[in-house]
Symmetry: C2
């Protein structure tokens, strides 16, 4: 643990570096409020902080920049609960007040909102359909050998999947299957639903196929990634930009990344902490979206390790909170 003065100095270094992206020297810190001490003393303290791994020098005779460990200490001990300014609060409020329509739209726009507020890439992970209550199940013939199964869930999501059917399946059989599906799925969640035999083998066959298809689809994640262009500004090394963008395009990587962080109960993963090597120059700030005490999704932002943590954390928190409330009403 660090004493008060080291703490204040580290804090000042982090703040300054976040603001300027330049290595920060002892005299700047000595001038900072809250550090009433000469630059020589600051130098001594900074040497200690460097030895303990909170700071590094890019090269001798340069200022210091925080390490991942330094940022970690900062977010754990220094940044407080985090406040968002009033304009942000209002903007978020307005957004969710004005939001209407489909869940997908809402999540998509939420990601844009986060990007706009934090100037970082944003990730929104929506609720899986699996757990939601099925309000309607339907089977619609598309052609002689294809049909669509459509489920409407209580949260407003609609999932569908195309299944192949036998050429000689009669419309009557299809209708019977549709009725059987509707009767047995409506009111349950997909996870809990079971499909008893109907007595007709052909109908059962159809129903099983439909059920399997829609169950497979409903385990897909609803993930929305926005603000990719911000990473082009955050890093000056083209290679890093490319790697980060490429990784962001692999949505399953992003999904497991975010989910993993949330599951570990963390709200911030700094640099290598999240274990995704191509993103080791990035930090991720996440918050779970909670409805009725249940964790139904996540929101987060991804930016360079020298991101504005207090602001990002506060923004992510307020957005996840409001999104949760919104989903609770809907």
């Amino acid at each position: 643990m660090l004493d008060d003065r080291k703490t204040a100095i580290l804090s000042a270094v982090v703040h300054e570096y976040i603001a300027t992206a330049q290595p920060v020297g002892s005299s700047h810190i000595a001038a900072a409020p809250g550090v009433g001490v000469s630059s020589a003393t600051v130098r001594n303290e900074m040497a200690v902080l460097e030895q303990e791994g909170y700071l590094i020098q890019p090269h001798t005779s340069a200022g210091r920049i925080p390490t991942d460990k330094g940022y970690r200490f900062f977010v754990d001990h220094l940044s407080g609960p985090g406040r968002v300014d009033e304009a942000t609060t209002r903007q978020v409020g307005d957004f969710f007040a004005a939001a209407h329509g489909r869940l997908e739209e809402l999540l998509h726009h939420t990601s844009d909102l986060l990007t706009g507020l934090t100037k970082n890439a944003a990730v929104v992970l929506g609720p899986k359909a699996e757990a939601a209550v099925i309000r309607s199940a339907q089977l619609v013939r598309l052609s002689s050998n294809a049909a669509t199964v459509v489920l409407v869930f209580g949260n407003g999501t609609v999932e569908n999947e195309v299944i192949e059917i036998d050429e000689d399946t009669s419309d009557a059989t299809l209708a019977a299957a549709a009725v059987h599906l509707a009767a047995n799925l409506t009111g349950c969640s997909l996870a809990s639903a079971a499909l008893p035999d109907s007595g007709d083998a052909t109908v059962d066959e159809l129903c099983r196929a439909a059920f399997a298809a829609v169950r497979a689809v409903s385990t897909d994640d609803h993930v929305y990634v926005g603000g990719a262009s911000t990473v082009a500004e955050a890093f000056d090394a083209v290679e890093v930009v490319r790697q980060v963008l490429y990784t962001l395009e692999q949505q399953f990587v992003v999904v497991s990344l975010v989910r993993d962080i949330v599951d570990r109960g963390m709200s911030v993963a700094i640099g290598v902490e999240h274990g995704v090597e191509p993103l080791s120059a990035c930090s991720v700030v996440v918050a779970p979206v909670v409805v009725d005490g249940e964790h139904v999704g996540s929101v987060g932002v991804l930016g360079p390790t020298r991101m504005n943590y207090p602001q990002a954390m506060a923004t992510v928190d307020i957005v996840s909170d409001r999104l949760g409330r919104r989903l609770g009403e809907g």
Copy 2:
């Protein structure tokens, strides 16, 4: 019009520049096959080509690079019909043979396919629901004051939208509206559908709301943009990368860009030709997706003006063709 020798020289410059991204000098061209002439002669010809606007010199005593006009001449007169190698043909074939499931998935993966084949950003514009035949219309209550209207179209698309309803709307009214909707929409396309009065004012009110909502949604475009990370490699100026990425994120810009090019009957828009200023360093190669003689969508790739046009055009063509066939079967 250019004589044969100028044509050959321009062609060689374009090929060389596409391959190396370096200004190309007269001696390289003189050595190229098909140009049996000394570097001095090439220099004279290049000077003419520069005066006529096909080439420019970044600075005196550097080689030349093609202008947009040079690329335009190249694609119009030089690149021939374009062949894809066998591996590509097979890969595309395999892709569409293996593809199954929902239209959205198919389009999304098609964009990934194009990115993989051309190493450029890819755009896939799917069919609008508007024109497709409605196979099923449904109205499902979500809560006391919200319902979802769901349409299933003959091409396998499912569109839905949430509408607000009066708290005191009875389930019976909702059911009546559902029946009325289904009766009047099934079998038509959204564009051609009309909604006669049912005799019950409340039901009509609901139906109108549902119809309006779903009609609004169905005019949305299904657009899939992939391969954003490739643009980080294509340009070395960070600012250009940022602008291009940002523009690609504005999906409506991309949509109107692609649509405009296709509508003008063009297959390639080079640099400023497409009129989107932030993308003036980019070319776009597009092809319409045609099903039964009808233009239902578009595919395209977007890359730096020094992209490999013959390969891109051939790839886009074959993908659009196979996608059209695939949509025709489905």
